[in-house]
């Protein structure tokens, strides 16, 4: 038995027949089938997802220490590796903690892509290929071929709107999990990652059948919900506050009159900026395992000189 046969028997065939069967009970609607299947896969992978989120969080906390080690042992790669391993061992984190769930998702994406292409076959060749994967269930033979129409989408072909939605959902998910960085180099890298990942998936979504994009969209929405429940809005909070400040609080007639009388230098935006800075500072503090008390100076700050966040903390006390 070849690897291809093993793949078909263990992964692809059950997925194809399961999807067809699921469609038969979901009003022959393949879009609903993809959404329900995504929820089922998400449910099965929930422990791993939670583990991945915790691992990501722990890595964020360790990041300043790891950077400090990198600087300290910049010329001794072997020592650097040893120290990094020791630090991770002490804190109970693992570099593979984030990677393993992603690697597990690869075969799922692969199988789902193959299943969608075969079940929603456009060409006679694709449809004929489906025959070899079907179980001897009468329902399978009565339901096929499935309609590829779902809402405005043709699930067998790429859909630009759905691709953009995938990008937006992934961006929100990324934004929630991206740690604030004080190091400009790290901050630039984080910003690049923040936009790169969603952009990549938008690109892939417009080249793949929309059925797969629907899986990614549903999956991202579920992850955002779980992430929100587990860790809150994270780095999305300043954005949300900004949106609320901009659209949520409609100024009353009196305040508008007052506003018009006042000079352009408004106190309200300053409060928002200060709030945002506070959140960023608190975020960076929490990310620094030492609570911001490291001896390493931040950019624009000389050694021994307290930062603004530190000042404010002392004032509060």
């Amino acid at each position: 038995m070849s690897i291809g046969d093993i793949w078909n028997v263990i992964i692809l065939d059950p997925l194809i027949n399961g999807m067809v069967w699921l469609s038969s009970i979901l009003f022959h609607n393949f879009g609903l089938t993809v959404i329900v299947l995504t929820a089922v896969i998400f449910g099965l992978m929930y422990p791993l997802t939670i583990k991945q989120m915790k691992a990501a969080k722990a890595m964020q906390v360790l990041q300043p220490k790891l950077q400090a080690l990198q600087k300290k042992y910049a010329k001794d790669r072997q020592r650097l590796a040893q120290e990094q391993m020791a630090l991770m061992r002490e804190s109970g984190t693992s570099a593979t903690g984030c990677l393993v769930p992603t690697l597990i998702q690869f075969p799922i994406w692969l199988a789902l892509y193959q299943a969608i292409v075969r079940v929603l076959a456009v060409t006679p060749e694709d449809f004929l290929n489906l025959s070899g994967h079907l179980y001897n269930w009468q329902v399978v033979y009565n339901v096929l071929p499935l309609s590829s129409k779902f809402l405005w989408i043709d699930l067998a072909n790429p859909d630009y709107v759905l691709a953009l939605l995938v990008g937006v959902a992934m961006f929100i998910q990324q934004k929630m999990t991206t740690p604030p960085a004080t190091d400009p180099k790290v901050a630039a890298q984080s910003q690049l990652m923040l936009f790169m990942m969603p952009a990549m998936f938008v690109f892939i979504s417009i080249t793949f059948p929309a059925g797969l994009a629907l899986y990614w969209l549903t999956s991202s929405i579920l992850r955002v919900v779980v992430q929100f429940a587990a860790t809150g809005p994270g780095e999305l909070k300043p954005w949300l506050q900004g949106i609320v400040a901009r659209f949520g609080q409609k100024p009353s007639y009196q305040s508008r009159v007052t506003k018009a009388e006042k000079s352009p230098a408004q106190p309200a935006p300053k409060i928002v900026v200060e709030q945002a800075e506070e959140i960023v500072n608190e975020g960076s503090r929490s990310n620094r395992a030492d609570g911001g008390g490291s001896n390493q100076p931040r950019p624009g700050q000389t050694k021994g000189q307290p930062g603004r966040g530190g000042d404010r903390r002392r004032k509060r006390r």
């Binding site: 690869f106 060749e125 004929l128 001897n136 009468q138 033979y141 096929l144 990652m193 790169m196 080249t207």
Partner: protein, 355 residues
């Protein structure tokens, strides 16, 4: 930047693995059958070119690129001095036997993006008939290409029609099989099955025998579409059946050819060819010649129903087999090649690989 590089590599690997290495989405290629007329063979290629070969030597007589065609699924139809062919690009072409284009339908000006045509053509009384993926059955004037009538079914049509005694018989993806008047397209009767119809029917006496993807092959009363008998296989009856004497030879994608009594539907024999059969068989020298999708060509003696493998082409065969006396012609899908085999000896006479 290292993380970004890793991410980039992961995404590239993901896209490559998903689309490239494992069951990537096929583009339509086509599996046009070969049509024999006089001393020539005609067939359509994956690139949408109509070829004429000398049937004895396999040498090219002429070739004509069909505008907008991506592939050809239906076998060309020859009537008088004209060759008619449907294309996946959504047009019907009429070409004379010298390879000169006579007309296209619809014309380029008429339609900006016509729906694909998988169905082959049937000819009767000056009209051409075919089904389209736009869900309609069409009748065209064979001289001009002008539409005579069209009939809407509930879903796309891939099956080729058969015309007999003024009636057009055709199956649709709406799980229905239709009998339509060849003159004006009005519905005479309709039969509803549990699955899609992809095969063309064969007429045996008062019965019309057609396979469905609901795993059944049906014998329908030609007058009213009532079920006379049905036989259930393990998988799809994708290819057309063939009737020899009182036996029906029905290939199935489960890899078997079921030999059934044409009057009762009782199983006479079941011959296992080992892998899926999508190619419609042909009768050559009292033998049913059939090929698996993997290119194993076998003969079934109609007198004894004994099966014998005569060739292993080791290529994908999905196009219907064409017989001319003792010679059969096969059009392979991978490494697009036309094979001429002697059905009795199993020897290869010639082969022509499409460039």
């Amino acid at each position: 930047m290292r993380k970004v590089s890793i991410l980039l590599i992961l995404v590239v690997v993901l896209a490559t693995v998903i689309t490239g290495c494992s069951g990537a989405r096929n583009r339509p290629l086509g599996w046009s059958g070969v049509t024999v007329s006089g001393n020539n063979l005609y067939f359509g290629t994956h690139s949408g070119t109509l070829f004429s070969l000398n049937k004895d030597t396999g040498t090219v007589q002429w070739q004509l690129s069909l505008e907008g065609a991506q592939g050809v699924y239906g076998a060309p139809l020859v009537s008088g001095d004209t060759i008619y062919v449907t294309t996946y690009g959504g047009r019907v072409f009429a070409v004379n036997t010298s390879g000169v284009l006579k007309w296209t339908s619809p014309t380029t000006q008429e339609s900006k993006s016509p729906d694909a045509i998988i169905s082959g053509l049937a000819y009767s009384n000056g009209n051409l008939y075919y089904g389209s993926t736009d869900k309609n059955v069409y009748a065209l004037n064979a001289e001009t290409g002008q539409q005579v009538w069209k009939f809407a079914t509930g879903d796309k049509i891939w099956a080729s029609p058969v015309v007999d005694n003024g009636i057009v018989y055709i199956g649709s993806f709406d799980n229905s099989f239709y009998a339509l008047s060849a003159d004006d397209g009005h519905q005479i009767w309709k039969f509803d099955a549990a699955g899609v119809f992809n095969a063309s029917p064969v007429i045996s006496g008062n019965n019309l025998i057609v396979g469905s993807l609901d795993r059944n092959i049906y014998a329908l009363d030609i007058n009213n579409g009532q079920v006379v008998w049905r036989f259930e296989g393990q998988k799809w009856f994708w290819a057309d059946a063939i009737v020899v004497g009182n036996n029906v030879y029905a290939p199935n994608t489960d890899g078997k050819v079921y030999v059934l009594n044409a009057s009762t539907g009782d199983q006479v024999a079941s011959l296992d060819l080992g892998s899926s059969i999508a190619s419609s068989p042909a009768l050559a020298a009292d033998q049913v010649v059939v090929s698996t999708e993997t290119g194993k060509v076998s003969t079934i003696a109609t007198s004894s129903n004994q099966q014998k493998q005569i060739s292993d082409l080791q290529t994908t065969v999905r196009a219907p087999i064409t017989a001319d006396g003792d010679i059969v012609y096969l059009h392979s899908q991978t490494n697009e090649t036309i094979y001429a085999l002697n059905a009795v000896a199993g020897t290869a006479l010639w082969q022509y690989r499409v460039q």
